[in-house]
Amino acid sequence: MSTTIQPAPVRKTIVVAADPATAFEVFASRIDRWWPRSHTIGKGPLASVVIEERVGGRWYGVDEDGTETNWGDVLVWSPPERLVLAWRIAADWRFDPGLLTEVEVTFNAVAQGTEVRLEHRHLERMGPAADAARAAFDSPNGWAAIVALYAAEAALTGAGEGP
């Protein structure tokens, strides 16, 4: 018997007190206003994040020195209900146009506003890159640095927001 076994997709649900059109607009068109600056793919500090508003549009980060780093692109652009983005960042933190993992975001009207569901799937496709990039993880700019940055940021955020 053959079974396809995959790592579970990352799934998140959050309710926001805003109508779906506003929620979609903020998520996609104003990602720069809310994307945590600690999560960057480029080499330098992240200055801005852009999602171009169309199918095929680019999703990229801009470092403070102006360098653009591709993260992926827009697969589905259906405001105000649905957005699907390709996340093409391999486990070695490099943009890989041949890698396709999907981030699907849906916006459903509920009594309190909008229920936003996010699913980041096909993570198993990162596998071969993860293996090939073993050396990259061990470099000073690899995993350890990113995780340390993230931990510092998470601690700050946690301290600021309380339990």
Binding site: I5, Q6, P7, A8, V10, K12, I14, V16, A17, A18, D19, T22, A23, E25, V26, F27, R30, R33, W34, W35, P36, H39, A91, G113, T114, V116, L118, H120, L123, E124, M126, G127, P128, A130, D131, R134, F137, D138, W143, A144, I146, V147, Y150, E153, A154, T157, E161
Partner: protein
């Protein structure tokens, strides 16, 4: 490292739970077992599978073994993404609600 092994390791819900707990920080078996509906030997068995899949590693600390996410594994990428989206969505929620209030105020 075989990826089939990685994915098989995470396919079991209890094992995924153990793994996610370790994503929060290194822990000993006794700590991991707390609050889990399975026995300590069962947790140890799950840890063994996760270790063989290179998702986690262990080290001695005094008389105890401390388990942690293996920084070389694909598992950490998922754990990182999981936390990334948690944090990103909270930040998004705040911004969306600010935008909604702003629109409301203009009406």
């Amino acid at each position: 490292m075989t990826y089939d092994k990685t994915f098989a390791a995470l396919a079991d819900p209890t094992r995924r739970k153990v793994f996610e707990r370790l994503a929060a920080g290194p822990q000993a078996v006794v700590d991991l077992a707390r609050g889990m509906p399975v026995s300590r030997p069962a947790i140890s068995q799950h840890l063994k599978v996760l270790k063989e899949a290179r998702l986690i590693s262990d080290r001695a600390q005094g008389t105890r073994r401390i388990y942690e996410i293996d920084p070389h594994g694909l598992g950490q990428m998922r754990a990182w993404l999981d936390r990334l989206w948690d944090e990103a969505l909270l930040s998004f929620k705040a911004e969306a609600e600010r935008a909604a209030m702003h629109k409301q105020a203009k009406k």
